[in-house]
């Protein structure tokens, strides 16, 4: 149908003039002009079987040599994090550097950093699905996995920062359960909204991811040669057959989940920003926070997607599925969201001056030129300058360069949260209580350890699950289109 609509405007008027001479049956849609043609999403006209083999093969064949060393290093780093958490719980939150007046520091910085990373996965899987951006199919699975693992890393910090974690969980500061005096958590606080937002986000992301996995798990089940593998893939694919009666419900459910995840992902970082914006602290109490946080989250998340996928496509020879076009499109998302973030930084300063509150203005001057000037300018150089390289096609297609910039984006977005949190807190209304936050070694290694958890989960993911959505990638190829010659369509069908 779309093909018939691509008659160029010029030939349409010509066809109109000759309408009574030539009956519409013979009207053949002209090929679209070369410059409008898009590079196909799967290169080299790969067959459906090739796609199955290429993606399923990754988790069926033995992992390449680097996998075990990578896994051991990641798992060791993760173990370090859990040991440090145990040390914190046994000793107290004093092992971290935070104290009055900066009672939030690396803990909440890390929390917001990781939650933000997750947002790209949901944006790719849900928002791009609703916008019918077919290129999402090559990257959505890995990006959604990244979301779930990032939320897992994020969740650790707010729980642990309460110190006596057993109170945080049960009976709760966080979970609605009355304490020993029968008092419930109070829902006027955005911190409690955040608990619901983040746990809903984690759960729905997991459900969405699993729904997408079901048909691919069935593919792995049908290809499995080992009994144990077949048993587990069969169990988790729930007996999926590819029945069209099932696909019909499945596609509706998938669309609904995308529709639910879209307002969800926008609400999650909005609510995270309420943790700050609803308070009275100068530097936090601003209305720009929700959209600015959401844009920043997507920016950081796409940075992490590029950090993970550029090596992944090369290491597993998936260049025909994750193509240059995919990387380029992601760079453009970085450029767009990075520009929004840059605009927000500027607007914050403008409003601090224009709003006429001396405290607000001081907080911002202190950010840029106070004792944490180095953090502020690191943030600016990573987040405001680096995305603008992507105006140039030559740089967008240079993968080494893109990968390096993606690292800068990750660093910059971590600094953004650090700047917002620590520079706003360390000098409050009472100069006698001003202080300077310095992290302890426990702070540093707990954060480093969270990357261990993230990478361990991601390595296990590529080891056991299809890293790309097999059925979805197939569905966007011409071979899958019953009206395309490659899908078996014959001339006379039209």
């Amino acid at each position: 149908m779309a093909k018939a609509a691509t008659i160029p405007a010029g030939s349409a008027t010509k066809a109109g003039q000759h309408e009574h001479h030539a009956p519409p049956v013979h009207l053949k849609a002209a090929e679209p002009p070369k410059e409008l043609e898009r590079e196909s999403l799967v290169l080299n006209n790969r067959s459906l079987g090739w796609i199955t083999e290429a993606i399923a093969g990754v988790c069926e064949k033995p992992m390449p040599k680097w996998w075990w060393p990578a896994f051991i290093v990641s798992a060791g780093t993760m173990g370090m994090m859990f040991s440090l958490i145990a040390y914190l719980i046994a000793t107290g939150v004093g092992v971290w550097g935070l104290n009055q007046p900066a009672d939030w520091a690396w803990d909440i910085t890390n929390f917001v950093f990781w939650i933000g990373i997750g947002h790209a996965g949901t944006l790719i899987s849900a928002v791009l699905c609703l916008l019918r951006q077919k290129w999402r199919t090559s990257i959505n699975r890995a990006a959604e996995a990244m979301t779930i693992f990032a939320v897992a890393c994020a969740g650790i910090f707010p729980v642990v920062h309460t110190g006596r974690v057993w109170f945080a969980l049960f009976p709760g500061y966080l979970i609605p359960f009355p304490n020993s005096n029968g008092i419930w958590p109070q829902f006027r606080s955005p911190l409690l909204w955040d608990v619901f937002a983040v746990s809903t986000y984690g759960t729905v992301s997991l459900l969405f991811w699993y729904t997408g996995l079901i048909p691919d798990l069935a593919t792995l089940r049908d290809r499995a040669t080992h009994k144990v593998r077949r048993f587990f893939y069969a169990l988790f694919s729930l007996g999926w057959t590819g029945s069209n009666r099932h696909w019909s419900n499945y596609e509706k459910a998938y669309l609904i989940l995308a529709g639910l995840s879209t307002p969800l992902v926008l609400s999650v970082h909005s609510i995270v920003s309420f943790d700050f914006a609803v308070s009275q602290v100068p530097g936090w109490h601003t209305t720009i926070f929700p959209p600015y946080f959401v844009a920043g989250a997507i920016f950081s998340g796409f940075g992490m997607v590029l950090t993970l996928l550029i090596p992944l496509r090369a290491l597993f020879n998936l260049q025909d599925i994750i193509t240059t076009r995919h990387v380029e499109l992601m760079c453009k998302v970085l450029l767009a969201t990075g520009s929004i973030v840059g605009y927000a930084y500027g607007m914050e300063f403008f409003i601090a001056w224009y709003g006429g509150s001396p405290y607000e203005l001081y907080a911002f001057k202190n950010r840029a030129f106070g004792p944490y000037w180095w953090a502020y300018w690191s943030m600016i150089s990573c987040n405001v300058i680096s995305p603008h390289f992507f105006w140039f096609k030559k740089l967008r297609t240079n993968f080494v360069f893109v990968w390096i910039i993606s690292i800068f984006v990750n660093i910059g977005m971590w600094f953004e949260r650090f700047v917002i949190i620590v520079t706003s807190l360390h000098r409050d209304y009472l100069p006698s209580s001003w202080g300077y936050f310095t992290p302890t070694w426990v702070d540093v290694f707990t954060f480093v350890g969270s990357f261990g958890l993230f990478m361990t989960l991601f390595l296990l993911f590529i080891r056991f699950l299809p890293a790309l959505a097999i059925s979805e990638v197939k569905a966007v190829t011409p071979q899958a289109d019953p009206h395309h010659p490659l899908g078996g369509a014959r001339e006379h069908h039209h």
């Binding site: 459900l207 639910l260 059925s471 899908g487 369509a489």
Partner: protein, 181 residues
């Protein structure tokens, strides 16, 4: 051939266009107990099979409504009814501060409702399926396309149905037996 009970005929097709064409023909022949199996959803197949629109949305709606009102109800109960406690001079309950949590619960239970509806409508999980006994059928999740017509269909005839599937361009037609028997 006659010992284990025959359950239906499974016909293999090679391309999406062929399976689409076959589905339309089987639909037009008036069958009711039949299905199409494809490695990915094919656009237009629902019409080709004359399937009604999916009812998953109903379950989403029920989940969403439940989520929203349980959120509001929970907050009202905890902060206004069971243990009223004034914090910062704010009201004990208004739908405004209860909204973010209720909104999240709306989405959470909508998602669970959707998945529950999906499982219920598709009768999944169902780990034993006579079709799994076919070696050929393993490629339904890879690169081949299948039509399956059940013997339970009133229009089914072992000879004529096989002939119909063959004329539609099936590359293979196979009889599926009851594996339990």
């Amino acid at each position: 051939m006659s010992d284990p009970k025959s359950l239906g005929l499974l016909a293999q097709f090679e391309t999406p266009a062929d399976i689409m064409h076959a589905a339309m023909a089987v639909r037009d022949a008036g069958f009711s107990k039949w299905d199409v199996f494809t490695p990915f959803p094919i656009h237009g197949m629902d019409d080709a099979m004359a399937l009604p629109s999916s009812k998953v949305g109903f379950f989403t709606f029920v989940g969403g409504v439940t989520g929203f009102f349980s959120g509001m109800g929970m907050i009202w109960f905890m902060n206004k009814f069971d243990y009223p406690l004034v914090v910062g001079g704010k009201p004990l309950f208004t739908p405004l501060f209860a909204f973010p949590v209720s909104y999240e619960l709306t989405i959470l239970l909508s998602a669970f409702g959707t998945l529950f509806g999906l499982a219920l409508l598709n009768r999944l999980p169902k780990l034993n399926n006579p079709l799994f006994s076919s070696e050929r059928f393993k490629r339904a999740t890879n690169d081949k396309f299948f039509v399956y017509v059940e013997t339970a269909d009133p229009k089914f005839s072992a000879v004529e149905t096989r002939a119909l599937l063959a004329t539609l361009g099936a590359s293979a037609v196979e009889e599926i037996h009851d594996t339990e028997a």
